[in-house]
Symmetry: C2
Subunit: 427 residues, 2 copies
């Protein structure tokens, strides 16, 4: 059952309390992760083998699989499954390929030409979670934009399965992406390996991908300890559903549960224009939970979630912008007019027939998104995340005539005479 | 005098050593900064007043200046200075305003429509360094893209001058940007104030701007401790000049010194196609240093710098890409053909008449750039830095027919049945 609040009765500090996600540093996790990072940095592959034996219960000789193994594993899945992965790949590719466009050059003054050019980040590391749920979709979500950007070296790490290998779905996605090697290491140790490099695993410039608390903490830590960068800080997944009287309680409940089954710390928030709707959704939740394989997990997440009754859709959007959800679903007939008012969200699902799970897999948008309120300042992963934009400028002698004295005056007023001289000496 | 190396005689580990910047954590700084952050978080404005008295030697009553004060201060500068700041403002505005463009919507399958829309980050904090050198140019570099992005609240912090106010140049830039308030606080305490909020200073979503080691450390720390984000990790400024026989040793020396005068920890690297050129540049350096007001600082930086002789421009570019400089100057006749080979750099200055100082002030490009090798994965500040891009998707009933079974198959193979049900229930 979702806890129920009425926005009308909440004070500002109570709202702030409701939208706050748990951001307390867990020092027990931090200490364990720091120890892993230092061990991998010092002992490299040897440490990775030991940690894989300890955490994944597998003794690995070679720390990676290559083309032949991948080919063999990819053949173990059905043609229907292959076809579904292909469609997801194509849609993700279609959506992301419009993101890289040339920008026009600007002549800011006669003879002063400035422009930006994108360059791929050369070496990127993709972390694909394994363990209880293996997520081939995450490999597509990270691998496709990396390929479109043109990254030279794509290092993929994922914990090995009980077989000491990877599953066939991940293998098939590697084939679709033309990636010929995968490193069999997971957890904080995989992040450390990509940040520092080991004999087997190359050091990368930027690390991408979701993971559990250990992986997330490791990403934050290596970002501060090395000059590797990361896609974004990540926390437990979350959805906020805005529903009015046009919504189907069954659809709403299904969407909340799709979020809830991710993990006990997932959050599913319902913002509804009536108390009656909240009650209907609650009974649908009870009904659907009965037949859900991961009901135990989902029930814990639902207990960790809540519903807020509001007077109208404007209030609903205002609450949503304050919450800044990773996923926002508008289960309303009138979704189009609401779009301009959405300020903070990761990915938005419009109308009654756009379930969030479509975006998780196959609509084409990226599912690696900012959580925990980071949607206030972060975008989800896109081709932009795999490039940097370099600025260029060229000044002709005409340009130097136009801009010279301005630079000289500004350098002088900041007290930087060598800056001034770099212009004066050229005049 | 620049230390001299010949690339031909260097081993790979020696090159790695040369391009490494000092990234060691200084725990003395970290501890001091953590104490400041915690104090500001707990005691707010009271702590800010005490720290300003301690570090800036000024007893402040009100922690900010408003419109009338700003207007008065702005009138204290000359018309020529105003005009130079206006031209810089215009050029920066021209260059940055092409950066925000609508992306087209993509129909990934019939009935499945996906697109991205940019939204301004609502509350941004700009840190403008004060102290020995006051940098009004930094206010323009951060304020102009924030305005173009449409940020609702722009919080500017800068340490007070001896007068207890700000200087006229900064005041005039505030007027150009239509920012009507500036907060008189600097250092780590300013960063803490913007991250947590105090009675006077609003909490922001993202913090921008360069600063000394304390400011930089504070930005890294609050990024991990709160859900505020930062523009980029920043370190000492740096330039790499590539010069061949067409270069003027005097221009090259002037550019190296413009970098060197920033601070003793700045780095100015020369990559030249001949030893003779390096010697000529070294004598020019000696000559120009004699008349430089900040010669003492520049000399320390030059001692901290070096020159590398290479056989050809291809080698020069390869070294530069390994170094990943904040600023790259190509003092060659043949710069155009080299552009495609530039992979890692913050901002690039092309040809003999494009001094780096033009980009610092007025060419139009941004001067807030990645240092310390972060150019491998970070871009400089742009309008992109002040927005986030939200993905949207709408699926029609035709779309659901097309995409439904793909989502169902993929959800099932990942073992997420509620994800599958969110589609099935709608069919």
């Amino acid at each position: 059952m979702l806890k129920q609040y009425s926005l009308r009765n909440l004070t500002a500090p109570e709202v702030a309390q409701l939208v706050a996600r748990n951001t307390d540093a867990n020092h027990a996790i931090q200490d364990a992760v720091l120890q892993i990072i230092n061990d991998v940095r010092e002992r490299g592959d040897e440490s990775l083998r030991e940690l894989t034996a300890k955490f994944d219960k597998i003794a690995l000789d070679k720390l990676y699989l290559e083309k032949d193994d991948i080919e063999e594993l990819a053949m173990t899945i059905t043609r229907d499954q292959q076809r579904a992965l292909e469609i997801a790949f194509q849609n993700i590719h279609r959506f992301h390929s419009v993101q890289l466009r040339k920008e026009r050059s600007v002549e800011t003054m006669p003879g002063v030409k400035c422009w930006r050019e994108a360059r791929p980040i050369e070496k990127v590391g993709l972390y694909i979670p394994g363990g209880s749920a293996v997520l081939p979709s995450t490999l597509l979500m990270l691998g496709v934009p990396a390929r479109i950007a043109g990254c030279k070296e794509i290092v993929v790490c994922s914990p090995p399965q009980k077989s000491g290998k990877i599953n066939g779905f991940v293998a098939y996605c590697l084939q679709l992406l033309k990636i010929e090697r995968i490193y069999l290491t997971g957890g904080a140790q995989a992040i450390a390996a990509m940040a520092y490099g080991t004999d087997s695993i190359p050091k990368v410039d930027k690390i991408f991908g979701p993971g559990n608390q250990f992986v997330t903490k490791a990403k934050s830590l290596v970002q501060g300890m090395t000059n590797v960068s990361i896609d974004m800080p990540a926390g437990p997944s979350e959805v906020l559903v805005i529903a009015d009287d046009t919504a189907s309680p069954a659809f709403v409940a299904a969407d909340l549960l799709a979020q809830a089954e991710h993990g006990p710390d997932s959050q599913a928030v319902l913002v509804a224009t009536s108390q009656a709707l909240i009650q209907q959704v609650n009974s649908e939740l009870a009904k659907q939970l009965e037949v859900l394989p991961r009901a135990e997990i989902a029930r814990m997440a639902i207990d960790n979630s809540y519903a807020v009754a509001v007077d109208n859709l404007q209030e609903a959007l205002s609450f949503s912008n304050t919450y800044a959800p990773e996923h926002l679903i508008l289960e309303t007939d009138e979704w189009e007019s609401l779009i301009p008012r959405i300020v903070n969200a990761g990915s938005v699902f419009l109308g009654h027939l756009t379930p969030e799970s479509a975006g998780d897999y196959a609509s084409g948008t990226n599912h690696t998104l900012p959580t925990s309120g980071y949607a206030r300042s972060y975008s989800g992963v896109s081709v932009d995340s795999f490039v940097k934009k370099i600025t260029f400028q060229h000044i002709s002698s005409e340009g130097l005539n136009h801009i010279g004295s301005t630079v000289e005056i500004l350098a002088e007023l900041e007290g930087l005479h060598a800056h001034k001289n770099a212009v004066s000496i050229r005049k």
